[in-house]
Symmetry: C2
Subunit: 236 residues, 2 copies
Amino acid sequence: MTASRKPAVVLLSGGLDSTTLLALVASQGYAITALTFRYGQRHAHELECAARVARAYGVERHVLIDVDLRSPGGSALTSDIPVPKDRGFPEAATDIPVTYVPARNTVFLAYALAWAEVLGTGDIFIGVNAVDYSGYPDCRPEYIMAFERMANLALKAAVEGRIRVRIHTPLIELRKHEIVELGTSLGVDYSMTSSCYDPLPDGVACGRCDACQIRRRAFALAGIADPVRYYVGSKG
Amino acid sequence: MTASRKPAVVLLSGGLDSTTLLALVASQGYAITALTFRYGQRHAHELECAARVARAYGVERHVLIDVDLRSPGGSALTSDIPVPKDRGFPEAATDIPVTYVPARNTVFLAYALAWAEVLGTGDIFIGVNAVDYSGYPDCRPEYIMAFERMANLALKAAVEGRIRVRIHTPLIELRKHEIVELGTSLGVDYSMTSSCYDPLPDGVACGRCDACQIRRRAFALAGIADPVRYYVGSKG
């Protein structure tokens, strides 16, 4: 750490989007505090990915935060609701999928505010993406803007004018294959990342959930080989 | 539980305000899910008070949620910063006190959103009060309104029109002694509650922190005896 580097808080799940985001923020010279949430998701494999990615980018601080989103439930990612498979083009669906987790980004961003205020920064980065997977309401620009406005009324440091909260969403307008292209141009090693909603115990991706299908198509469109392993049998 | 009772989420700390709030919401016939947060506060005594109060009002569900606000720190309530004592009229101070906890109400209300959505309700109650202790930015009406607006963009059930999030703040415009009067008219037993920021290990209130001073004056103004025990020696 050098005194001249500006602090930033980055939300890091260990997936494709947040890893690309971290590479981007690191390339801009920020002193990064990365936050990863253990929220009762089925795919704990992504926590290992997040730790690997955080190390690879030399973040200043990687914080693992336990968040109980399992007791309210209401999502295929935190309960026994089955993860949908083989939907074909899930990004074209107009309904909000059952993998939606109630209030997830609001809980995550609320913790980011606490860290940002204590670090003396208003710069928070989140890898939401509204184009290729517009189903989640808390990934849309209007939500992010409303959160930012609320945050600047919530924090002492903002009210006193010492920071101005900015929720940066540099990926929000990118297509998924453009995110892969951006990360590749930044030298991201995507073998470190995990996107699957329902991986095998050893971390092998199912290949058939919405996240796998969208990811595979993105790499294909970008003309780049996806280095993660996909299950080729008949699981699930 | 009867099928006809409308569900509501109530934030319950076990202090004077949230206990009065719970009594009020219970008197309106809601089926209550009460949320209490263990966030690294020094005064764990208030968790016992919250459990007692929840039982007394027959809530449907009392959920204790662990929230890590200790690792970011930045508050006298979650770190080694001393709790101010003997400030005289703390409610008249214009600065935001060191007992402010970064993003606390935003984190609490974010969890409340997750519960509300799963319960199929938009009704969330929080006992914030902006009159006699206006120091905390996340107790002000403008913050609450901005949070409510954000919430209605965040939740699937709100976006789909099945619920409308309302952050109810029935105490927000009341003076502290008016809260005591309201609770007394509802039959609240205030001996169950804890307000002190720095109680003795057995739960006896210090009598000298901002919260104790404001509470004692409120009971005096209301002409009602405060049933909690205050330390009369020279601690702290």
